[in-house]
Symmetry: C2
Subunit: 183 residues, 2 copies
Amino acid sequence: MARPRKFDEAKVKNALRDVFWQHGYDGASYADIMSATGLNKGSLYASFGDKRALYQHAISDYNRENVSPGIAMLRDNTLTPRERLNTFFTSLVNAAETREGRWGCLLCNAAIDQAPFDQDVEETVSASLARIRKAINYCVKDTPAADKADLIWTSYFGGHVMVKAGYSKAVLKKVRTQIVSLL
Amino acid sequence: MARPRKFDEAKVKNALRDVFWQHGYDGASYADIMSATGLNKGSLYASFGDKRALYQHAISDYNRENVSPGIAMLRDNTLTPRERLNTFFTSLVNAAETREGRWGCLLCNAAIDQAPFDQDVEETVSASLARIRKAINYCVKDTPAADKADLIWTSYFGGHVMVKAGYSKAVLKKVRTQIVSLL
DNA sequence: ACAGTACTTGACCATTTGGTCAACAACAAC
DNA sequence: GTTGTTGTTGACCAAATGGTCAAGTACTGT
């Protein structure tokens, strides 16, 4: 059954996600991708397809490893809605002070620089945003903020724009406080 | 005193702003820029500088022509705060259904795809975001939403992410309703 | 040991990228 | 009309881009 793969697929996918997360689609060249994954173009093409396909893999990976845990937390009934929202927006506060944080949110980045030019990306991204929207809705549905779910939702992504713009932790903390005070 | 310029500087700057607004920094090639402005590289270099400088001009133009009027409106005391916020978020609703609207917000786009890699862009963009923040603060300072200004602020930019992701008018209308209901 | 198969490598390709420059053109001052 | 200055043009460049492929390699099954 032929020569086995030399690389760890999960690690390569993580590396792929990180490169695109950090540099965006246009900003990530094959030079970047190759050095991040440790594979060269031939192998990448054989295993995953062209650059667009690599990007899609990156988004899928982000959904699985970064988005889904957040959604699960928002739906975790062992915590109060307030605790859940607080945790959710704390990830934003922390983003403002870590190196990875400055990468922002891959969904947000993809929405802005690729969704208008690639229908597959648009669909994947908006589906994922919709999942988050529903999770927030679920989280606040029995609270005084039940009718403000979409406001909370958009504000989360707006916060990621602020992180990318270089705003400090303090500003994001204010946003978190104001969100939590809704319920 | 020598040969006069053949082009209308204001028109060229508008064209410049639109190209970068629509395609982003990396996405806009000189081919795009030349056909949009009607000038060729030599003239662009002589008049404005390199590509980075062109981008800076685009952001300045956006600030002057697109951001400042909104800020003036938010500070217009002849309107009620509710009217002002409603108008501000209506621009978001309208964005969701026009072609230009799908370009999103240039500040938002610049924050995401260039701010982390270009300190000048970061400074220009975050200064502009700060102006908007102050205007919203001013607008709501004597209302029940006085302590929710930053929430309104981030939510506005989050809304632009949704527009880019392809969300319909209906969703943005919900956000607007929820914002206005804060005061 | 051999053959078959799948993975890996790096050289190679056409195209596009941002950027430069020498030649030319159009005006103002005299 | 001549001169000096500035604007415009398009050919040109090196570097980088995404993508391909023939050759070599490492494993499995027999």
